[in-house]
């Protein structure tokens, strides 16, 4: 609970794009919008990869300058520290030969000594740049907490590497001006800043300072009175004060009761006066008493609180309401007979009154939209980059069947691009589409959190290293990767450049296009395969291709192209041009079906209906009212308003719901709440027992409207489609919107609601051998039944593995479905995977 509670001031990960790393932000404010969502006003931290390259280089040199005292470093420090450095300046500074020379020297952050190259590489991922840039993001995009601290020179970077989610920063980045600045003030040195230090007095020299001129004694503890005596005197002075109030006309009006007079006489001003009196009368109780009751009558001490009349108090409150705490204005326009000091004193005393407390309550309710913290549940949705097949990259088949590529990519793609492992529970596509890199689960997490790869070995690093020659040791690669080289995105080029400008030039010259300087991450490549006549011919001719269905089903299994070519050429050798054309044409020629009328007539004949000569009445549309009505309408139209418009039920915002609830419940006295449950959603969360602050579309719905449920027919259709395409059902079919998994074993349980926020993902089910065997053992009818009711275990008689492997396409995916809940309010009740499934279909 505490881990998911995000407070103002916390540093958090924000996910704004599924493929790029998280953004790191610090929460400055949390505001509840009228719609009930929570918006976070955040301050941005930038990663190294977000900064323009020259600035990064400059930042590195600044670090060096910090750890060195060379004159060049000083020069740089001046550039860096005194004024913000812009991109051009930085680029210039980098080109400065003196500074360039520095590059030859080591270039690490302070504290990198003794780090392995890999650690050094990773340390760069932990560096952030503070900015004063503030933006507003929906709080639901928070993906976890992290810590960002100012790097201290005594710290080794290892202490950050050893801690998860720990970042550091040294410099401040201004994103609008593209400048860097050290976040550091300075102590100035010079006679204009330092004081002249007074000299020690010489022996016999007299200090001219005289305490009597500097201070007035008001009280001394050397009074010879006991505590008891003082207390007694205080009581006496209070009683004198009470009596004085009884005598005073204006007081007796204000304080009609004796209690009130006594309370007024007990205020601190009376006590201070009593102490002063004691002191002035030389701590003689006797004389102090007599001065409490001079000839003019008993002494009356009144502070502002008491001095003010009721009408003045009202004026003050009115003024406060109007002007706020601008006492000068209040005095001028409302209470000119008071001094400013009167007003200030009164104000602080007025704050202790009930009237203020009431006002504060009103304000507290108004300020309810400002939150101190928010609860964001763990985010468990799969990332779109997740590769959903467990054996191979999802994109490989397209390329393979197109016959464009060899097997090299396959092997490359099967390794994790970062750590080179081949085994992982999850795989994620990563990097530019055409390169087909993928990352294992842990490297993906690393990429999302730290914005880089664990190792520096990717992105053609080897070539860079080779180009650099013998000097290119680990450090250099670490450096080059951390600088995020700009790489050409044109297919089969992928050259790297240090500066974006260089890349732009390269693209313009080598590829003749002005664009593409920025690496573009395409989500999906659009392509189609256009079969040439020879391809078509080859399909006909070669035996290897005689299993088109097999290849269609398993597009990822490679086709031996050399064999195809060989057979093709062998077959073609014996044919003449005409025969070849005929063979090709036979494949390509469209079957002649005749005009539509003829087809219709044929169909009618097939149905046994005598061919009616004039009208084909069965071809006319069924009238609307004669259409069969579905037993259940999934999305019934809402009732119509008199003006013909549809009346949709209004979805209440949380604020409104709470307002209604509040209306219903009698107003409760507002109590000061503890820090952690101030007006937060957490309160709502606790009350509802459900997750808080989901986007409105996914709002927990206590009474799911029946209209949102797919009809039996739709459902069957979906299942059938899924079965037919070899896919398991899109998981969302089973996913209950409000985060509660649906009861899959039967339809009697919760109603199924499709989350319309999620488009069905592109999933497919790959049958392995056992599944295929099992499938074969089923009768056609059983298969169909299974397709229609995929949640039901197949009865498929003899086939023992069947329910496990096939009939349970749905069954199999059940645990996955469970864990895919959009907002799991409680731990997913995912059952242990059924034995025998070597891998599940989904892993999140």
């Amino acid at each position: 609970m505490a881990a998911n509670m995000y407070r103002v001031g916390d540093c958090v990960y924000f996910e704004t794009s599924s493929t790029s790393p998280y953004q790191i932000r610090r929460i400055e404010e949390l505001n509840k919008t009228p719609s009930g969502n929570v918006e976070a006003k955040v301050m941005c931290f930038y990663r190294r990869r977000d900064l323009p390259n020259p600035l990064i280089q400059l930042a590195d040199k600044h670090q060096m300058a910090q750890s060195e005292d060379s004159p060049i470093a000083m020069k740089l420090k001046k550039i860096c520290l005194k004024t913000p450095v812009g991109e051009e300046q930085a680029a210039q500074a980098v080109l400065d030969p003196a500074l360039a020379a520095m590059e030859e020297e080591s270039s690490e952050l302070p504290g990198t000594d003794g780090l392995a190259p890999k650690q050094r590489h990773q340390a760069k991922h932990r560096e952030l740049f503070l900015s004063r840039h503030v933006e507003t993001l929906p709080a639901t995009h928070i993906r976890g907490k992290c810590t960002v601290t100012l790097l201290n020179e005594t710290e080794s970077l290892l202490s950050y590497l050893n801690k998860d989610d720990a970042f550091f920063y040294c410099l401040v980045f201004d994103p609008s001006q593209k400048t860097l600045l050290a976040d550091k003030g300075e102590i100035r040195v010079g006679s204009r800043y330092q004081t002249e230090v007074t000299n020690l007095l010489k022996d016999g020299e007299e200090d001219v300072r005289n305490s009597e001129e500097l201070e007035t004694l008001v009280w001394t503890p050397e009074h010879g009175l006991t505590d008891r005596q003082i207390d007694q005197f205080l009581v006496v002075s209070r009683s004198v004060g009470t009596f004085a109030r009884a005598l005073d006309c204006s007081s007796s009006v204000k304080q009609p009761s004796l209690h009130m007079s006594a309370a007024a006489a007990s205020r601190d001003i009376t006590l201070f006066h009593a102490m002063d009196t004691l002191h002035k009368s030389g701590y003689s109780i006797e004389s102090a008493l007599s001065s409490l009751v001079p000839a003019s009558g008993p002494v009356l001490c009144r502070d502002e609180m008491e001095e003010w009349s009721a009408s003045e108090a009202n004026l003050f409150e009115e003024a406060l309401d109007k002007y706020g705490k601008d006492f000068a204005d209040i005095r001028q326009d409302f209470l000119p007979w008071k001094t400013l000091k009167n007003l200030v004193e009164y104000y602080y005393m007025w704050k202790t009154t009930d009237r203020y407390v009431q006002q504060k309550r009103v304000k507290a309710v108004e300020a309810e939209s400002k939150l101190k913290q928010v609860y964001i549940p763990n985010y468990n949705k799969p990332n779109p980059a997740l590769i959903t097949s467990n054996s191979s990259s999802g994109k490989a088949p397209a390329v393979l069947n197109g016959g464009t590529n060899g097997t090299a990519t396959v092997t490359a793609a099967q390794l994790c691009a970062s750590c080179q492992v081949t085994n992982s529970n999850q795989w994620y596509t990563w990097g530019p589409q055409h390169l087909q890199y993928r990352l294992c689960g842990s490297c993906w997490q690393y990429w999302k959190k730290y914005g880089g790869l664990k190792t520096a070995g990717v992105f053609g690093e080897t070539e860079v290293e080779a180009a650099k020659g013998p000097r290119g040791e680990g450090e250099d690669t670490a450096l080059s990767v951390s600088h995020r080289p700009h790489r050409c995105t044109v297919l089969n080029c992928a050259k790297e450049f240090k500066l974006r400008a260089h890349l732009a030039r390269h693209v313009a010259t080598a590829h003749g296009s002005g664009e593409g300087a920025r690496p573009v991450m395409k989500t999906r490549a659009a392509f189609y395969l256009r079969a040439s006549p020879f391809t078509r011919l080859a399909r006909r001719l070669t035996r290897a291709l005689r299993r088109p269905r097999h290849y269609a089903r398993s597009p990822f299994s490679p086709i031996n192209l050399t064999q195809v070519k060989h057979e093709c050429s062998a077959a073609m050798a014996g044919l003449g041009a005409a025969e070849l054309r005929a063979a090709g044409a036979a494949a390509g020629a469209a079957r002649v079906r005749g005009p539509v009328g003829a087809v219709a007539a044929r169909l009618a004949a097939a149905r046994g209906t005598p061919p009616a000569t004039g009208r084909h009445d069965w071809l006319t549309l069924t009238p609307r009212d004669a259409m069969p009505h579905p037993p259940h309408v999934a999305f019934p139209k809402p009732p119509k308003a008199p003006d013909g418009s549809l009346m949709y039920e209004r979805v209440l915002s949380r604020a409104e719901i709470e307002a209604r609830r509040a209306e219903a419940a009698p107003a409760q006295p507002l109590k000061r709440r503890a820090y952690d449950d101030i007006n937060g959603l957490d309160r709502g969360a606790r009350e509802g027992g459900e997750c808080a602050a989901p986007p409105p579309a996914k709002r927990p719905n206590k009474h799911p409207a029946p209209m949102q449920r797919p009809s039996r027919e739709q459902y069957a259709a979906m299942c059938a489609r899924a079965q037919a395409t070899g896919q398991p059902l899109p998981a969302h079919v089973f996913t209950h919107v409000n985060g509660k998994p649906t009861n899959i074993s039967g339809r009697g349980g919760r109603r199924h609601v499709i989350s319309w926020m999620d488009a069905p993902d592109d999933l497919y089910f790959r049958a392995n051998e056992t599944a295929k065997v099992a499938r074969r053992s089923l009768s056609c009818g059983e298969l169909r039944r299974g397709a229609r009711a995929p949640w039901r275990a197949l009865r498929g008689g003899a086939a023992a593995p069947a329910p496990l492997h096939h009939g349970g396409a749905a069954r199999l995916s059940a645990p996955a479905v469970y864990s895919r809940c959009t907002y799991p309010a409680r731990p997913s009740p995912s059952p242990p995977p059924p034995p025998g499934t070597e891998r599940r279909l989904y892993f999140w």
């Binding site: 001031g9 005292d69 060379s70 004159p71 000083m74 302070p110 503070l130 810590t147 100012l150 201290n152 020179e153 005594t154 710290e155 202490s159 401040v172 976040d183 003030g185 300075e186 102590i187 100035r188 040195v189 204009r192 800043y193 330092q194 004081t195 002249e196 230090v197 007074t198 000299n199 020690l200 007095l201 200090d207 300072r209 305490s211 001129e213 500097l214 201070e215 008001v218 009280w219 001394t220 503890p221 505590d227 205020r267 601190d268 001003i269 502070d303 706020g324 705490k325 006492f327 000068a328 400013l340 000091k341 200030v344 602080y348 005393m349 704050k351 202790t352 009154t353 407390v357 000061r672």
Partner: protein, 485 residues
């Protein structure tokens, strides 16, 4: 240094009943009224009757210009909310306007605050008191001719200047959550005042107070900065405060201490980000008090006023050596202390970003710096010569060259960055090789001081490598004497 038990002391307390009614302006976090709230608590706790209570005089412009520049004080004296428009240029120059607004009675407020600290310092000088308290003071950001961070006149500097008449070395400790930059800057180049500031550092006002800011010139190593991160709790604070202060006392051997008790390091402060309780904050007072030196306590920051008055009340009781009840006595401001009406506050559950390792590293680095001070551990305490340059040669003659040099002698050879007389003659003829006799300055610290050293570096570009090589030999004392005094 001898530690004294928690004992009863003669305590003088400075307060003017007007101070609570100055008002910085609408929405301004600085509220002088907290001083009055403290005062009322003191009365009702019965602490008032145990101290000498003084109403301070209003410091005169003459007194203030002991530190501040004349035109700055003249400006403060003449600026009023109704004539602000005539002073636009000066307001900018003296940084008066936003953080440091012009308010009614601004100058009087400064006079009272400064008057209290100066009177308190004089009191200590006259040995008429062991502990003086001025909660109206502690305005540690004010610069020589610039207002800063709600501070206009630096009463602390004025007080320390007064103390320096009788005390060779004065220690200034600052436990405000903000860096005590005004005081540090004022005494940045002197070795007679050591400033030790514990503060939040990093993206925080005033931006100074880096671990590497250690003073300049003669004052090198006499500025101690402890940069901390969010969420300091009592335990962590004590774990760094105790060793640092003990070490400072041991090496610097001050004869008077000034403690700035900014209460914005308390948990739940409107501007602060630490997590100290009143007890943890007061513990610092207790620890410093134990050294038994003439002790001036001043206020400072603190923007959640109910906690500020709690804190300063408790610290007054600590200074008096009197235990007071956790139950707050009834007073004019009682309602402020709801809902529990207790003296002590609980820390929040915020996370402490200061790991023990971090604090340990900071501490070690500061110890290294403190080791550079003339008083090395184990060496007999000696008075620092008034002017090291003048009597250096005489002292050296007295030293037996075959004996191991006393630390004081060694330290004299270590030239501060700013003291290098890197005049042109060094590059000339026969004198050039003299340089090799010079004990290289300690170059452990990667960062240069800002004073004058830039000039040196620009001239001696080719020498810097030699210097770097010499680092290793810093520890070994050179027997040869510098021929060029």
């Amino acid at each position: 240094m001898a530690m004294q038990p928690h004992s009863k002391k003669r305590v003088c307390y400075y307060y003017d009943s007007d101070i609570g009614n100055y008002y910085y302006g609408q929405g301004h976090p600085m509220k002088p009224h907290r001083i009055r709230m403290t005062h009322n608590l003191l009365l009702n706790y019965g602490l008032y009757r145990k101290m000498e209570i003084y109403r301070p005089h209003k410091a005169t412009a003459d007194e203030m210009t002991k530190f501040h520049s004349d035109d700055y004080i003249r400006f403060l004296r003449s600026i009023r909310p109704d004539n602000m428009s005539e002073y636009n240029k000066q307001m900018q120059r003296f940084n008066v306007g936003e953080d440091c607004p012009v308010f009614d009675g601004l100058y009087e407020f400064c006079q009272l605050s400064a008057g209290g600290s100066v009177a308190a310092a004089v009191k200590l000088n006259k040995q008429a008191s062991e502990i003086c308290i001025n909660w109206g003071g502690g305005l540690h950001h004010a610069k020589k001719s610039e207002a800063s961070g709600f501070c206009y006149v630096n009463d602390i500097v004025l007080g320390i200047l007064e103390l320096l008449k009788y005390h060779q070395r004065v220690l200034y400790i600052d436990i405000d959550v903000h860096h005590g930059d005004g005081v540090e800057e004022a005494f940045y180049t002197t070795d007679r005042v050591m400033t030790v500031s514990f503060h939040k550092y990093g993206e925080y006002f005033p931006g100074t107070g880096d671990l590497r800011d250690i003073g300049a010139g003669k004052g090198k190593y006499y500025a101690v900065n402890i940069p901390l991160r969010d969420g300091m709790d009592d335990e962590s604070y004590e774990s760094i405060f105790v060793p640092i202060i003990s070490k400072v006392m041991e090496t610097f051997q001050p004869s008077a201490v000034v403690l700035q008790c900014g209460a914005d390091s308390l948990t739940g402060d409107r501007l602060g980000c630490f997590n100290l309780t009143v007890r943890g904050h007061g513990r610092c007072v207790e620890l410093v008090k134990r050294f038994g030196l003439p002790f001036l306590l001043v206020g400072g920051g603190g923007y959640t006023i109910r906690n500020v008055s709690r804190c300063w009340t408790y610290e007054t009781s600590v200074a008096l050596g009197v235990e007071i009840a956790n139950e707050l006595p009834y007073n004019d401001y009682f309602e402020y202390f709801g809902p529990d009406f207790k003296l002590h506050i609980s820390p929040s559950n915020m996370s402490n970003q200061n790991t023990p390792e971090y604090l340990e590293k900071i501490k070690n680095r500061l110890f290294e710096n403190l080791r550079m001070l003339p008083h090395a551990p184990g060496v007999q305490v000696q008075a620092i010569p008034e002017d090291a340059v003048n009597d250096e040669s005489e002292d050296e003659d007295k030293v037996d060259k075959d004996e191991r040099l006393p630390q004081s002698e060694k330290d004299k050879r270590i030239t501060g960055d700013g003291e290098l007389s890197d005049s042109e003659d060094e590059g000339e003829g026969g004198r050039r090789d003299n340089r090799s006799y010079r004990t290289p300055q300690p170059r452990k610290r990667p960062r240069l001081d800002k004073d004058g050293s830039t000039i040196k570096d620009e001239i001696k570009t080719e020498d810097s490598k030699d210097d770097v090589k010499n680092i290793s030999s810093v520890e070994e004392p050179k027997k040869e004497l510098p021929p060029n005094p």
